[in-house]
């Protein structure tokens, strides 16, 4: 095994081009487990810790440009206003020690259906900027996950930034697990309200071969909110609408039975948290409206 220690991004891209099978390691929270337990013996480990760019973020007009290695702790503490869904998801990642090392780039690189960041990214809307010596490109998050633990990266590409739309409305994230901390998601759900476009977006984790959006549920809710004038009148979403939304979210799941939970439970639980996160976000939206109106 060789340990490659590029000092700059350009060196890293060159190394990856030369050794396309090299395994990038940043927080190490996935890769080192595989090495410690003898599940993986790559010929090259490509250490990204020395590349300062990957630990930076920049808040722009429309979106946040998040370095692939920015630790979850930083996201929780510094980006709660801009990326509330991702900040909530970050707080559920493993343990404080892991949150101090792991970042969104690693989550995307591993592309596990259980990655905690994915539902939040799907709901917020994001693009993954990847680069190789051949150049860079931006992959919409909806096209990023291509199979179980597979993503749209080419062998010579590395993840550099994640561009995440700044929240224009309330966002929520719920993860269901059988322990109150340090647990892998049995299933997870992210929801973002986008009042600017009068749409909602969702993300579901651990309930299908890849992280997915519940598109039928989104379309149903978009239509129901529009039809009832809810974005304007700020009325409570009727229970029947919430129930239908929850059911459609359950329906978007394609889960398996495994040691962490049954497929039936996953479908059921996604429905429950879909209903709850809708209630929380909508209540928050109504609250914000009242404050705005009150000020006006």
């Amino acid at each position: 095994m060789d340990f490659l220690r590029p000092a700059s991004w350009q060196e890293a891209l060159a190394a990856k081009a030369e050794h396309p099978a090299a395994v990038p390691i940043a927080g190490g929270t996935d890769v080192m487990v595989e090495i410690n337990f003898d599940h993986r013996r790559p010929e090259h480990l490509l250490d990204l810790n020395r590349i300062a760019d990957l630990y930076e973020w920049e808040v722009g007009e429309e979106s946040v440009r998040l370095g692939a290695s920015v630790p979850y702790t930083q996201i929780m503490e510094n980006l709660r206003a801009e990326l509330p869904g991702l900040a909530l998801a970050s707080r559920t990642v493993a343990s404080p020690q892991i949150r101090n090392r792991g970042g969104v780039g690693g989550n995307l690189g591993t592309a596990s259906p259980a990655g905690d960041a994915h539902p939040a990214l799907l709901a917020a809307g994001a693009e993954v900027e990847v680069e190789s010596v051949r150049g860079s490109r931006r992959i919409p998050i909806d096209a990023f996950f291509t199979g179980v633990k597979r993503n749209a990266l080419a062998a010579d590409e590395l993840i550099k930034w994640v561009h995440i739309a700044k929240a224009d409305g309330p966002q929520q994230f719920s993860k269901v697990g059988t322990r109150n901390a340090m647990v892998i998601a049995v299933c997870a759900f992210g929801l973002a309200l986008h009042p600017a476009t009068r749409t909602v977006r969702t993300g579901i984790g651990s309930a299908a071969p890849t992280p997915v959006r519940a598109k039928a549920a989104e379309e149903f809710l978009n239509a129901a909110l529009e039809e009832g004038g809810f974005w304007d009148n700020g009325r409570i979403v009727p229970p029947s609408v919430a129930a239908q939304f929850a059911q459609l979210c359950s329906g978007a799941c394609n889960p398996i039975d495994d040691v962490r939970g049954t497929a039936g439970y996953r479908r059921h639980a996604v429905g429950v948290v879909a209903r709850r996160t809708l209630a929380w976000t909508w209540e928050s939206y109504r609250g914000a409206r009242r404050v705005t109106e009150g000020a006006a």
Partner: protein
Amino acid sequence: MRVNLTVNGRPQQADDVWEGESLLYVLRERLGLPGSKNACEQGECGSCTVRLDGVPVCSCLVAAGQAEGREVVTVEGLADLAGRRAEGGELAPVQQAFIDAGAVQCGFCTPGLLVAADEMLERNPNPSDEDIREALSGNLCRCTGYEKIMDAVRLAAARQQEAV
């Protein structure tokens, strides 16, 4: 490969390091610092917690090569660290509190818990019970049921407040 790093304030060098080795292995087996414990080696128990450039991490998940040029504090260095914060004594306050409150049984989780608790008290000198629980939620203990650990951290916090 060779790895250079600073551990508990001292420059250290490890030779013939296998590229797949963890920082935990280097500390324990090559640098004679077995205080950090090898309980799960998958980041699920916190027994190997050290501070890497000040930040608590699971040393089992840091590749040895990633520690090149960096500063590590282990449980063996906690008393010195406390000394530098002018909380002098043979032991760091949190170490003494663990003994006094009966928070140590088998002691295998203790080094990791101490590093995590010490760092939390540095950031948050007056934590609520729930703050303590959240900060220590990455450290498993199988002996105590955590109650005496809660007592110990409260005690350390109270003593620090008194000292101020």
